[in-house]
Structures are given as structure tokens and as C-alpha cells.
Amino acid sequence: MEKVKQKDLILYSGLIILGLAAPYLFSAFKVQLTYLCVLIVLAMTWNLQGGEMGYNSFGNILFYGLGMYLTASVQVGMFFPLAEWTESGGEKTFVHTTAQYFQGIGVGLLVSAIIPALVAGAIGYAILGLRGHYFAICTLGLGIAAGEIAGGIEIIGAGQGFTTPPFPAEIVDVEARGKFFYFLSFFVLVLAFVFVKYIYGSRFRLILNAIRDNEDKAEAMGIQTMKYKIVGWMVSAFFCGLAGGIMGGLIGYIDSTDVAFDGREMGVFMVLMAILGGKGTLWGPIIGATLFHFFKEGLWTFILGWQYVALGVLIVVIVIYFPEGLMGWLREKYPERFGEVIDEKDRKSQVELK
């Protein structure tokens, strides 16, 4: 046990050092690296209820978009009238000072983590009674509805979109913005990982798995499944909100359906990444997100105009050849490496029985 822990320690410190050094090693790729961190967070937290709890949600994009709008609104609203900021052609130009900018984004991110979690709690209370496909379809509607509603609210820019505060001009270093957002997202990634890892070692995960494997039985055993389902979704929402807040600041421009409640892309990607890597595993979504991001960034530009066809083919290939994801496939091939011991006697006796 002790030995394994030491190995883990080497792995984690190695990854953290790599993570901290990455923006200096690959200076030109900071934005892509930031995207990668955010994608991993989304995949990992989607996996919590999609993979562990068995509730496939297409609605996590709701929390992501909510977080994005909340962070930007708080960041502006704390210092300036929000309505005038977002008003189209508002001739006044407000400028955040350096201190205001960072205070704003700090408070904004806090709000963008808490409120989506609360919203998840409230919505979850209403719809987590649905199971299987019904839940999936219901959540699919959430993101779409949110996008249309946000597109009609004047104070957050409606169809005009919302330009988030520009990075303070007093900071002369052009690299500073990229570094700031990278480290912010990396911090959230570490936070999310530590949290998810903790959950993996706790009774909470077993309960989520019990819900996934047989909810009625779990209930019969005295588990208040509703409570755990809601908490599970709230955890996802918490991190989705944070991820959205960071992305809003990084992109600099929020559009209701294309950037914030972007179910067509981000909403599908987070599910896809988790499935690609293998849902229901700790490392699966991380590997899935990393591979997906590299596939997307690397290949996209060589097949201009055909990317989505390629993506479609990729999905088909994943579903046919790796239905359990990469981790699931590896697990099936090398079960002993995943700590699954096959009892030879038991196996033989079963073969003989046949």
C-alpha cells in the first residue's frame, strides 16, 4: 500500500510540475492549454453523474453558461452599471483598474460556482426523479431553453452578446493574460481532481455506483437516493460554473447560444470526452479530454470544412470499437494491471461447468 502511494506521489508531483511549467515550455500554446484544462474539468465532473451515477446529463452546459454570464456580470456590476456596459453602442467606455479587474473576477468566480450549484440543486429536485433516457432528454432541453432565454435578456446584452472586461491595460506584459487564465484554469483543474479523487475513495462513490447499477435495490437498502443524486449533480454544477467563468474571461465575448449555452459543441464534447476515455473511471475522462483536444487541434486545420465529418467518424469508431472507452478497453485487456485479480481456480471451474 505504502509503495503504491509513493508511486502516486511521483506521478502527481510530476504532473503538477509539468502543469506549472507548461506555459513556459509551450509559450505559444497557452490558450490551447487553458482550453485543455477546462475540457478536462468538464469531462471529469460530467463523469461524476454520467459515469458514476449513470445519469447521462446533456444539461451540464446550463451551469457552464450560467457561470460564464455570472462571472462577467459580477465583474462588471461590482464597479459599473451593468445595463450601460452591455447596451449596444453605449458610448461610455468604462475601464477596470487592475485591482478592480482581479477583485471582480475573484468574486465573480465564487458566485459562478455557488449559484449554478444551487440551481442544480433546485432543478435536480424537480427532475432527478426521471430515469434513463427521460432524464437525458429532459436535460437536453435545459441548455437549449437557457440559451434562448439568455438571448432575450437585455441587461446581459441579449442577442448583441456581452463583451467581458478586457485584461487591465496597466499590465504591459502581453503574456500576462494568457498566463493568468492558464494558471487559473490549472488551479481549478487541480481542485477538481483532488475533489474527485477524494470522492473516489469515499462511500459517496459507492452510493453513486449503487444508484447506477440498481437504483431500486439501493433504495431498498435504505439509501436516500434522491439526496445523493442531487448532491452529485451539484458537485458537477459547481465545477462547470467555475469552468464557464474562466472561459468567459478568456474568450472575451459571450454570445448566448454560441459561447455560453453552447450545447452543440461544449455540451456534446464533455460527454464525448468522458466516453472516449472511459466513463466511470478516474483517469478515463482526463485521457479522453486530452486525446480529444489534440485530435481536434491537430487534425482540424488539415481537413478544413470536413472537421465535423471526421468527428462523426470518430464517434462511430469509439462507439463500435471502444464502447467502454479507452480505459475500459485497457481494463478488459489487462485486468491485472487494474488490480483485478482473476482467480484461476474459479475461472477453470466455470469453464468446466460449461
Binding site: G14, Y253, D255, T257
Partner: protein
């Protein structure tokens, strides 16, 4: 865990190596080429206009390169453009702008298609002090942010249909009119809407229907039903290409009678071709029309541009292509005046631009918008089965008379 850790580390090192090998930087001026970068919508909801934009850019690059290129410091350079597909998505566009600048080492940018995407890219180019000449982002809010490196060759969006309201009032004997309007919920169309609000206020007109249309719209029957019931004097619709096509299709299907119909993006939608006589009498705002008498030495005039473009791409150039071609003429002019590849010198030269192109006069205002060129309105008119766009306003360029009011469907053959 041990094996997984190893696997993971191997994976990461492999990735690291890959990145390290491809991250060698590129240069903005390579040999005899000046490299420009652009994110363009080749897929997604703006794909048709994205392609118009790209064709416009390519046409101008070929023309300028074949006519001696750009002369800087006594040497002749050629233009080259690196394109990426932004998938009509602002998030992707901002990321690609970053990629063009940081990874491909592009020092000069051409704009994407649509205001929303330009809004997403402008903060990036501004941050790295990269001059961007854009031809397809007309939203007024782009020009009020104090951007220093953004230059637009087109007129701002709020001016698109203001003239149409003036025209309606004029035809109504100077009395205020009743306006019905429906706009897509995107940056550009909402700005057109603001222009109408201003015009309504100025003329004392009332807005009786003010609808918002969803993105990627293909149905506006609810709005049209209201129009049928309330009988406004003018109906204004703006929703890019799809908006124009949907409006004409459903107006003719539902036989909605309205004395005046004003729209945007009719030529990009090839309305007169796609819908023929059904689109007759529609009034359209346009940045450019081939009949205008502007001239330059690369494309000659509008008619010649039209002919050359048709020969190369097989369809008549919409204004989106024309303005995109003009963006490169502006860049060429600025490089030659700056006589340098220093970004700030080029930027200052762009700022001082004052020239005529086949597309119109170009001179940048303090916010970067083109202040030297008015919008024009044309009307679709048909002779037999062939329909054409005729310029009807402003009077200086008008080739035909504005036909008003639109006959009722019951009287149209």
C-alpha cells in the same frame, strides 16, 4: 495504478515531443510573401457568407500579386493568407486568432465574417497590437470600444436600413409611419434594429411589432400573422441570408400584403435568383452595388469586378465579396505608404487611409469605421421571369425609381 501511471507518462511525453517539434515559429514576412491571417466561417450557419468573404479575399490576392504585388522598401512582395475555419463560432474564432498570432506568427489580420465573430477576435488582435482590416463586422458596438488596431471598410450596421424608414415617411407624404420589425438575435441584426429605433424616433413613427427571431431561423410565420392582422406601412426584416430567404418564402406562401418590405442580405441570399418573382419589390440595404461608379486600378469599376468575379467563381459577387476584396486593397495601400513592415507604422498608415476603390471611398473614422461611403438601397425588379437588383437610393447613385407601394398579392401575376 503503476502501469496506468507509466502509460500516462508515456502519453504525456509523446505529446510534449510533438508540440516541441511543431512549435518552431513562423514569420510574418517570409521571403517574398506578406502573410496575412484570417479565421473564416467555412462551416456552420455563416458558411455561405464565409465563402463569399474568402472568395473576395482570394480574388484580391491573386489580382494584386499578378499586378506587381506590394512594393515596400524598393522590393516587391506578394500576399499570402493563412485560413482557419472558425465554424461560425465566436469561441473558436477567438481561439484561432490567438493561434494565428502566436503559433503561425501572423502580424496582420483580415477580418472574419459577421459582427459577432469580429467582436470575439478584436480583443485578441488589440491585445497583441495586430492591425486588422475587416470587411464584414458592421456592428456599431465594435466602433465604440476605442479599438486602435481595428479598421472596417464597411458602413456600420445601424445605417443599413435607416434610409428605408426615411423613404417610407417620404412616400407617406412626410407623415409618420407604422413599422413592423423582426430581427434575428445576433449582434449585427440587433444593431440594424437600433438604427430603425433611431429613425423611428426622428420621424415620429411608431413601432407596432417588434419581434425577435431565433438564430438559424427558418420560420417567422408568427410575426407574419401579426403583420397580416395589424397592417403596418413598412415591414423590416434582418436575419442574415436565412432571414431574407425565410421572409420571402413565407410572405409569398401566406400572401402577406405590406406596402413596403425592407431587408438585409438580399444579394448574399441571391434572392432574385432563388425566389424570382416572389421577391419582386423587396427593398434591400447593401454596402455595394456593381452599378456604382467608383473606380480603382486593380479591378477597374464595379461592373468589371462583377464580370471578373463571375468568370472566376461562377456567380455574381454579393457585396460581402466586394468589401472583402477592398480590405486587401486597403492593406496594400497602407503597406506601401508605411514603406515598412513595422506594425505600428502600418497601423498609422491604415489610420491615415483616404482612397477610392471599386467598392467605394475608404476613410476611417476615430473608431475605425469607414465614414466615407454611404449605404445604398436597391429594389428587386422583374422583367418577365428575370429579376434584377436596381439601385433606388440614395438619389446620387440611383439608376431606377423606387416602386411604391407593393401591389397586393391578389393583383400580382
Amino acid at each position: 495504478m503503476n502501469k496506468i501511471a507509466k502509460l500516462f507518462i508515456t502519453l504525456i511525453s509523446a505529446i510534449t515531443l510533438t508540440i516541441a517539434t511543431i512549435s518552431s515559429s513562423f514569420a510574418k514576412v517570409e521571403g517574398e510573401y506578406i502573410v496575412l491571417g484570417s479565421a473564416i466561417s467555412l462551416t456552420g450557419k455563416y458558411s455561405s457568407n464565409g465563402v463569399h468573404t474568402q472568395n473576395g479575399y482570394n480574388m484580391a490576392v491573386d489580382r494584386i500579386n499578378s499586378m506587381g504585388g506590394v512594393k515596400v522598401g524598393g522590393k516587391s512582395y506578394k500576399f499570402e493568407i493563412i485560413y482557419y475555419d472558425d465554424e461560425s463560432n465566436p469561441k473558436r474564432a477567438a481561439q484561432l486568432a490567438e493561434r494565428l498570432i502566436k503559433q503561425d506568427g501572423v502580424h496582420y489580420m483580415l477580418g472574419p465574417y459577421s459582427s459577432g465573430l469580429t467582436k470575439a477576435i478584436a480583443p485578441v488582435t488589440e491585445k497583441y497590437k495586430i492591425p486588422m482590416v475587416e470587411a464584414n463586422g458592421a456592428s456599431r458596438s465594435l466602433f465604440t470600444k476605442g479599438y486602435k488596431y481595428l479598421f472596417a471598410v464597411l458602413s456600420p450596421a445601424n445605417q443599413y436600413l435607416e434610409v428605408a424608414i426615411d423613404l417610407a415617411v417620404e412616400k407617406n407624404g412626410g407623415k409618420p409611419v407604422k413599422i413592423a420589425q423582426a430581427f434575428e438575435q445576433d449582434a449585427f441584426s440587433q444593431d440594424v434594429r437600433l438604427g430603425i429605433l433611431d429613425a423611428a424616433k426622428r420621424t415620429g413613427s411608431t413601432i407596432i411589432i417588434d419581434d425577435k427571431l431565433p438564430k438559424e431561423l427558418n420560420d417567422m410565420a408568427a410575426t407574419l400573422a401579426k403583420v397580416k392582422a395589424t397592417k403596418p406601412d413598412v415591414l423590416v426584416v434582418s436575419g442574415h441570408t436565412k432571414g431574407a430567404l425565410t421572409a420571402i418564402r413565407q410572405i409569398s406562401e401566406m400572401k402577406v400584403d405590406v406596402p413596403m418590405l425592407a431587408m438585409t442580405h438580399c444579394d448574399a441570399a441571391k434572392l432574385s435568383k432563388q425566389h424570382g418573382k416572389k421577391s419582386e419589390y423587396a427593398l434591400c440595404a447593401s454596402q455595394w452595388h456593381k452599378n456604382l461608379s467608383y473606380k480603382d486600378k486593380f479591378f477597374g469599376g464595379g461592373k468589371k469586378y462583377d464580370k471578373d468575379f463571375k468568370k472566376e467563381f461562377g456567380y455574381a459577387p454579393p457585396y460581402q465579396s466586394a468589401e472583402s476584396s477592398a480590405a486587401l486593397l486597403v492593406f496594400k495601400d497602407a503597406f506601401e505608404r508605411a514603406n515598412s513592415f513595422d506594425r505600428d507604422k502600418v497601423r498609422d498608415a491604415l489610420k491615415a487611409t483616404d482612397m477610392q476603390t471599386f467598392y467605394g471611398n475608404i476613410k476611417f473614422g476615430p473608431g475605425g469605421q469607414n465614414v466615407a461611403k454611404p449605404m445604398i438601397l436597391f429594389q428587386v425588379r422583374c422583367k418577365g421571369d428575370t429579376c434584377e437588383n436596381k439601385v433606388v437610393a440614395p438619389t446620387k447613385w440611383a439608376s431606377d425609381k423606387f416602386f411604391h407601394p407593393i401591389p397586393k398579392w391578389s393583383e400580382r401575376g
